[in-house]
Point group: C2
Chain length 337, copies 2
């Protein structure tokens, strides 16, 4: 196979890596039609809890949900679960602000779920969450590498608002084949009517129109002394943009080729505009003969719950592309055709 | 000063240590007269939350409580706070089962508060908590040393029940100058009337008459590959006894000389009976001229929230006894005469 698994050459071998999954809600995910996560708008709020449950346990037990989209496409949490289990890495979940209580072990930062930024400040305790993130980042300094994923349904819209407020002419990706771009633009327009187009302080931008994950991820990057890789698409580019605006050293970003190839989004251009190094993982889902996973190639799901970062971590630890994709096929075949 | 700070010679210098505080409740702390923690029996349930708040923030903000006993003796959490702050180590708190929600970042294992073992099984999900402890222990394997403290008001009585059920002729310590020994014996007698004197499986013993902290601490010891030191008095000896009964390698124990010198308890003898190495820390509170701390020497408080372990960790990291006690005096002088 001539497939290039990682888009950039990498020579580091992490000795003591940790995979983090930051869980949060934004009430934007309950706006009908905006988020592709969950069975329906209110159900989207439960997705971070179910994703964490799947990754920690290998199975969802608190509801009868299957980790597939309605079209039979395995969720990104399935990929993260399969890969982390294969490489023997237990994730550390962080609750940055959720509506529902998690069902598996989670480091609780006592944040509130993010509000609808059209109605008022979305993350009133952004500063506190950032500072807790800094402390947790220091606390984790025994690790040489942090791979930081996220699960925030509706989070590409907060990412759009944050990137635009920071001055980037960005377009964000989505978990849907057809991104509800005009809805996202309408929400950003409504936000600007409330807060204006330009806010100088990046912490104020998170507070007004971000989500709790962003504050925690930016804090982790500030406090952690080793290598930190933000694992996600345009949502993590928003975090990278915040980190830059704060004047802190830029981390790296990793996502999948499916986000890069989303022509409705500006992933690679925005990464360049920010100046953040970005790596694309290509697990070759088009050629592995799985009717669900192949849907990633037509633009469904694309990324989430740090699945690109989990695959990259496996590669850095010496697992071959074949081993990695085999572990994914094996896991998702347990519940999907 | 000729004081011997650590009772055993130590040559290890931890490179990547972590201090853990396991928080839990047992409903036994609400039995009037049994626990010396908190302002009153029901108030004892809040103590782990306030202790964690003090250690994380340096100040209690959610109530107007001062971290002193009614006689003006600084709580052990004050000592832990002072020392960890001095040596720059952030603690990781674990919620093993609490009545009240913590107010600072805590890794939530979704446990229930321990029940009264006279009425029924005290920790119905002991097995699950143990297994989560094992996973967290593995997750923390980047560290070379874990110092594991606890805060479980009423926990010396569950320790008595567990040690006796495991066949040890033990007497436990307490946070009071005069331990309510006869009450503890009456509770153990009532427990034996319910479950009998001999239960072969140590996990069943935790379930019937232990507390949630014990299950998690024993699991951590099983999962963590490095050096693990249980920081506490007779409560941690109960954990060590469980670990031995499970057939797992024994950790070490550290506590203060004030527990060793408690003639109502059998600390050193029970450690020998178990065969667990135990280190006693002597911070010399009798000679430092603080009217509150000197009360440790007459048997008040004695130990708690891993304060002996925090002081030992500081010594292992190269801090002198003078630096360590000076940091404690400085901190407690901020709120107490």
């Amino acid at each position: 196979m001539l497939m290039v698994f990682l888009s950039r050459p990498y020579s580091i071998t992490p000795k003591r890596p940790l995979f983090i999954g930051i869980l949060a809600n934004t009430m934007l995910s309950t706006v009908p039609g905006l988020s592709g996560a969950g069975p329906n708008p209110m159900g989207s709020l439960l997705v971070p809890v179910l994703d964490a449950e799947l990754i920690w346990q290998g199975i969802i037990t608190s509801t009868d949900a299957t980790p597939n989209t309605p079209t039979g496409c395995p969720t990104p949490a399935s990929i993260t679960r399969a890969v982390l289990d294969r490489i023997g890495v237990s994730p550390l979940f962080i609750n940055a602000g959720l509506v529902h209580r998690p069902t598996v072990p989670v480091l609780d930062l006592l944040g509130q779920a993010g509000g609808d930024p059209r109605d008022g400040p979305a993350v009133p305790d952004a500063e506190r969450l950032y500072k807790e993130g800094v402390r947790i980042g220091k606390l984790l300094s025994a690790h040489d590498l942090l791979v930081v994923g996220e699960c925030v349904p509706g989070g590409t819209t907060t990412a759009l608002c944050v990137l635009r407020s920071l001055g980037y002419d960005a377009k964000v990706s989505s978990a849907s084949v057809t991104s509800p771009d005009s809805m996202k633009e309408e929400i950003y327009a409504a936000v600007t009517r409330r807060i204006g187009r330009s806010i100088p302080d990046p912490m104020d931008i998170i507070r007004e129109t971000g989500d709790p994950m962003m504050a925690v991820a930016a804090g982790l990057a500030d406090g952690f002394p080793g290598t930190l890789i933000l694992a996600g698409g345009t949502q993590m580019l928003a975090v990278a943009a915040i980190i830059k605006a704060l004047g802190n050293p830029l981390p790296e970003v990793v996502t999948t080729v499916y986000v890069r190839d989303d022509h409705a989004a500006s992933c690679d251009k925005t990464a360049q505009d920010i100046g953040v190094p970005i790596t694309y993982v290509d697990p070759g889902f088009g050629e592995i003969g799985h009717s669900g996973l192949v849907r990633y190639c037509i633009g469904e799901v694309k990324e989430g719950m740090g699945c690109g970062g989990a695959m990259m971590l496996a590669a850095l630890l010496g697992y071959s592309p074949e081993e990695i994709t085999r572990s994914i096929i094996s896991f998702v075949s347990g519940y999907s055709p």
